[in-house]
């Protein structure tokens, strides 16, 4: 008898423990909504990994819809279109967050392939980006996936699709792009401020050397292809398949950022060499110093010219000439 009672007590304790554990894992609806809206006020697009996705987007019961963008934003995935889609998605989410009708009925989320590959597998997605609407009740249907092929992923189109699926109207607000104007104003302010502060001592503006150095620096920057870097955005350097690091791009149509720095340095070295030689010949200083200048100058000129020639050779296939270095 006593043993029987003990056993029943034990069973009670165990089940209570189990229920307690269960409750910890499965949050109630109100708690989930609370957590989502707290996170949503701070960041309109929530980032989910596999677990969070299952808990918030798939977990039942729900009284809210979620719009999820499945994407691959890591640079190694090289998905340029994902970045554009992300910007547009962010725009819609922001517009929703700051709109009049903002409520707990709709949330925007993002699942990155590198953070939640199991989700991709479960939903059988093999491309990115994909926009899906998960309604409060039931499973998503075919129309709950945005047909990017037909409609595109412009913010206005996403908002229209969301309105079709959830009857929630979002007015997309594109912030006007003042970045260029702002940069110009800041630059102007800096210049005026500098001039004002040093208005008693404006001599530095008249100093020829500073202008000369400025012009030379600008020339080195331009001839080493910095504008190309600015417009095309190449990688800093590349790791080849064998594990070596390639500093120089193999073809003459493209370049790496580190390569442009190397070329700028080479040019600067040759120019420095020539300037040293000129100074050595024309100054009236100590004889030994001049001699050393001249020798260093000559060495710099010859060595760095051959170096730049050999780098050019490695890029322009079929170029037959070299000097000193192969």
């Amino acid at each position: 008898m006593i043993v029987f009672r003990e056993i029943i007590l034990l069973l009670f304790a165990l089940s209570a423990l189990l229920i307690a554990v269960q409750c910890k894992k499965e949050l109630s609806l109100s708690e989930r909504v609370q957590q989502l809206s707290d996170a949503g006020t701070k960041k309109p697009v929530l980032r989910f990994n596999g677990d969070k996705f299952r808990q918030y987007v798939k977990g039942t019961p729900r009284n809210y819809s979620t719009i999820v963008m499945f994407t691959a934003l890591a640079p190694s995935r090289q998905c340029g279109i994902c970045r554009h889609a992300h910007d547009e998605f962010q725009l819609v989410a922001n517009s929703w967050r700051y709109s009049q009708g903002y409520s707990n009925r709709l949330f925007f989320a993002l699942v990155d392939f590198d953070e939640g590959p199991d989700v991709f597998q479960a939903l059988r997605l093999n491309s990115a980006p994909v926009f899906m609407h998960f309604p409060a009740k039931g499973k998503p249907k075919k129309v709950d996936t945005l047909d990017i092929q037909r409609v595109g992923f412009a913010a206005e189109n996403i908002a229209r699709w969301v309105a079709e699926r959830t009857d929630i109207q979002i007015r997309v607000f594109r912030p006007p792009n003042y970045s260029g104007l702002l940069a110009l104003i800041v630059l102007l302010a800096l210049v005026v401020g500098l001039l004002y502060l040093r208005k008693n001592n404006l001599d530095f503006l008249y100093n020829k050397t500073i202008w000369a150095l400025g012009a030379l620096a600008f020339t080195f920057a331009m001839t080493s292809g910095q504008m190309w870097n600015h417009i095309r955005g190449p990688p800093f350097l590349q790791k080849t398949q064998q594990g070596n690091i390639a500093y120089i791009h193999g073809s003459s149509q493209a370049q790496f950022i580190v390569e442009t720095y190397i070329v700028a340095l080479l040019n600067a070295a040759v120019v420095l060499g020539m300037i040293l030689m000129t100074e050595a010949a024309s100054k009236r200083d100590d004889v030994r110093k001049r001699r050393i200048y001249a020798i260093i100058g000559l060495g710099l000129v010859a060595f760095f010219f051959s170096l730049s020639l050999s780098i050019f050779r490695s890029k322009a296939h079929g170029y037959p000439y070299s000097f000193l270095l192969k």
């Binding site: 012009a215 030379l216 020339t219 080195f220 001839t223 000129t278 000559l298």
Partner: protein, 635 residues
């Protein structure tokens, strides 16, 4: 104001059905020059065909450029510098690329005109006489008549004057030079009907006008200053300056708001903001000449000059005169523009002369310094007290002169190699090496154009992409819809819509434009990679950029994964559009294989309903289709 002779010429065989007023849409300088040379030679009874005059015009003018460069560098530094600069510009690849015999384009004479204007301007600034200023204005007129790049000139000369004012070098000479140049030059430039009233209404020319006003004010202030004592002058100065500045800003704002001053046009705006073209105007971004420059392109076209140029800058700075300031400005500005937009040629071409001039200055200064120090073993003893002879001086000098000579020799070799490899091939006949090393010639373009010439009616209208417009007009002698002048974006966009739409929609567009034949380029059999399929995305972008083309969206032509593919995975819109059908009907060897994209074609059984194949050239590069008439009875 427009008294241009050729304004009455109207070409109705290009840009059908719009036609084109030749006088008003091109720069006449090149044509007028060729005609003048032809007439003069024939008057002297040296009978040369006009075609030969045109072919050899560019090399002739590049010889003239060499002479002008010599004079320009001589004015800037010394005859020695002039010689070196002239030698360098004679072989620099950046300039040769655009002045080979047979390249009949504006740049051939424009560079000559530009350097001539600069030379006259430098002379005007140095002497301050009305004679040289007027010569500069005449040279400027010649420049305006030959190339749209004159805008660079009309901005760099005022910038030079402004810099002189800021550095306190403004003098009576500069005042005379600039005032006469601006007034006479602007009036003359407005005689070209293509330029018309732009010099007084567009933003690109407002800088010159502003500096002109500033010149007058500066000179007047100097005059007043010489007649008043200091205090009176200061008060007057401050009061007047503030009122004028306020009034000026107000007028400018009002004019801009009323739209009287046109904003910067797209092409020039993209120089200031390099990403503007890419985002907003597809036709500007698509021309491969408008791409930024990688460092190896600089090195390829200029080799030694890339590092002699900064040394030249250094020499100019250490010996600052009015003229040197000009060349420094010119150098720094042109290197910025060449870096932003210059890989194929246009702006690299403007950079090449200044690079040569500054490098010439550098090389000549270095060599003249060091040549003095070679040998003279006997004189050393005397100069011991002054120069402080240093042991090994003559050895170092000899070594340096040798190194410099090696550099110059390498420069020559490099230029020769580059010219023979890259800038010597005709672009209308292609060649390739076969398996056994023998050379195969692809003469398909001319074959197709001559077929058109002999086998189609005189008034047939041919639709193709704009790259081939001039060639069709010249060799096939048929009316075309769009050509390389690209002055009407909407018309080009219409052609793009026809190429990118399905057969039915395209047929409507073609009937509307009265098209009889369609010409497309296909590289899949030979591996020729600049065919119409590789250009196709530009057709889509330009086609979708106007009102009537809103149904054409670029992402329709990509696969769901975002790739541009022509095989089975390709997007259905792409596989069913007109140009796909034309290019790939029974195309490829083995049938259905594209050797450029290296895939098997996705839609092999394309049956064209509205077009029938008229001609395909030997290597399948050019394909011509005839547009069928409407059926006799309703379907």
């Amino acid at each position: 104001m427009c008294v241009c002779v050729c304004v009455c010429v109207f070409d109705d065989r290009a840009w059908y059905p719009l036609g084109r007023i030749i006088g008003g849409t091109i720069y006449p300088g090149l044509m007028v020059t060729s005609a003048a040379i032809y007439h003069i030679l024939n008057w002297l009874h040296i009978s040369i065909d006009v075609r030969n005059v045109c072919v050899f015009l560019a090399p002739l003018f590049s010889s003239f450029t060499t002479i002008v460069t010599y004079h320009l560098a001589k004015e800037l530094k010394s005859p020695g510098a002039g010689l070196v600069a002239a030698v360098m510009i004679a072989i620099v690849p950046g300039y040769i690329s655009r002045s080979v015999a047979g390249s009949y384009d504006n740049e051939g004479i424009a560079i000559f005109c530009m350097l001539l204007t600069y030379y006259m301007w430098i002379k005007a600034v140095k002497t301050g006489t009305l004679f040289w200023s007027t010569m500069a204005a005449l040279a400027y007129f010649y420049m305006v008549s030959s190339w749209g790049g004159y805008v660079f000139l009309i901005n760099i000369i005022p910038l030079h004057v402004l810099t002189l004012m800021i550095t306190g070098r403004f003098s009576h000479r500069v005042y005379v030079a600039y005032s006469s140049l601006y007034v006479i030059g602007t009036i003359l430039s407005m005689q070209i009907s293509f330029v018309g009233f732009q010099p007084v209404s567009t933003s690109e020319h407002m800088g010159a006008f502003g500096v002109f006003g500033l010149c007058q004010i500066h000179a007047f202030v100097d005059y007043v200053r010489s007649h008043l004592n200091k205090n009176q002058f200061d008060t007057l100065f401050r009061a007047v300056i503030s009122t004028i500045a306020a009034a000026g800003v107000l007028t400018l704002a009002v004019l801009a708001a009323l739209g009287k001053i046109a904003p910067w046009t797209g092409r020039f705006y993209s120089l200031l903001d390099p990403s503007y073209a890419k985002n907003n105007i597809p036709i500007i971004a698509s021309v491969s000449e408008h791409q930024p420059t990688a460092w190896s392109s600089f090195y390829f076209d200029l080799q030694m000059l890339t590092f002699m140029f900064p040394v030249g800058l250094y020499f100019c700075f250490s010996n600052l005169t009015d003229e040197n300031i000009f060349i420094i400005l010119y150098g720094v500005l042109s290197i910025y523009f060449a870096g932003v937009m210059g890989v194929m040629v246009r702006l690299m071409l403007v950079l090449a002369p200044v690079m040569c001039i500054l490098s010439g200055i550098a090389v000549s200064s270095l060599l003249s310094t060091y040549m003095k120090q070679i040998d003279d073993v006997k004189v050393e003893k005397k100069k011991q007290r002054f120069e402080g002879n240093y042991f090994m001086r003559s050895e170092i000098a000899t070594l340096f002169v040798c190194v410099m000579s090696v550099f110059l020799v390498m420069y020559t070799l490099h230029c020769t190699w580059v010219t023979s490899e890259a800038y010597s091939s005709p672009s209308i006949v292609l060649s390739a090496r076969g398996h056994d090393g023998s050379r195969i010639i692809f003469d398909d373009f001319r074959e197709a154009y001559y077929w058109l010439r002999h086998n189609t009616p005189e008034d047939a209208k041919v639709m193709s992409w704009w790259d081939y417009g001039y060639q069709i007009t010249a060799m096939a002698n048929r009316t075309i819809l769009v050509d390389n002048n690209t002055w009407n974006n909407t018309h080009i966009s219409r052609v793009g819509q026809a190429m990118a739409s399905s057969e039915d929609k395209a047929y409507q567009i073609m009937r509307e434009l009265d098209v009889d034949y369609v010409l497309v380029i296909f590289g899949g059999l030979t591996g020729y990679s600049s065919d119409d399929i590789n250009k196709f995305l530009w057709m889509v972008r330009i086609g979708g950029s106007t009102d009537k083309g809103t149904h054409i969206k670029e992402h329709d032509y990509y696969t769901p994964a975002g790739e541009f593919r022509v095989d089975k995975e390709g997007s259905p819109t792409l596989l069913n559009c007109l140009i796909f059908g034309q290019v790939y009907t029974e195309g490829g060897k083995p049938p259905g294989y594209d050797r450029v994209r290296n895939v098997e074609i996705g839609n092999k059984d394309f049956e064209l309903d509205v077009l029938e194949e008229a001609y395909t050239t030997e290597h399948w590069i050019v394909r011509i289709y005839k547009v069928k008439d409407l059926p006799n009875r309703g379907a």
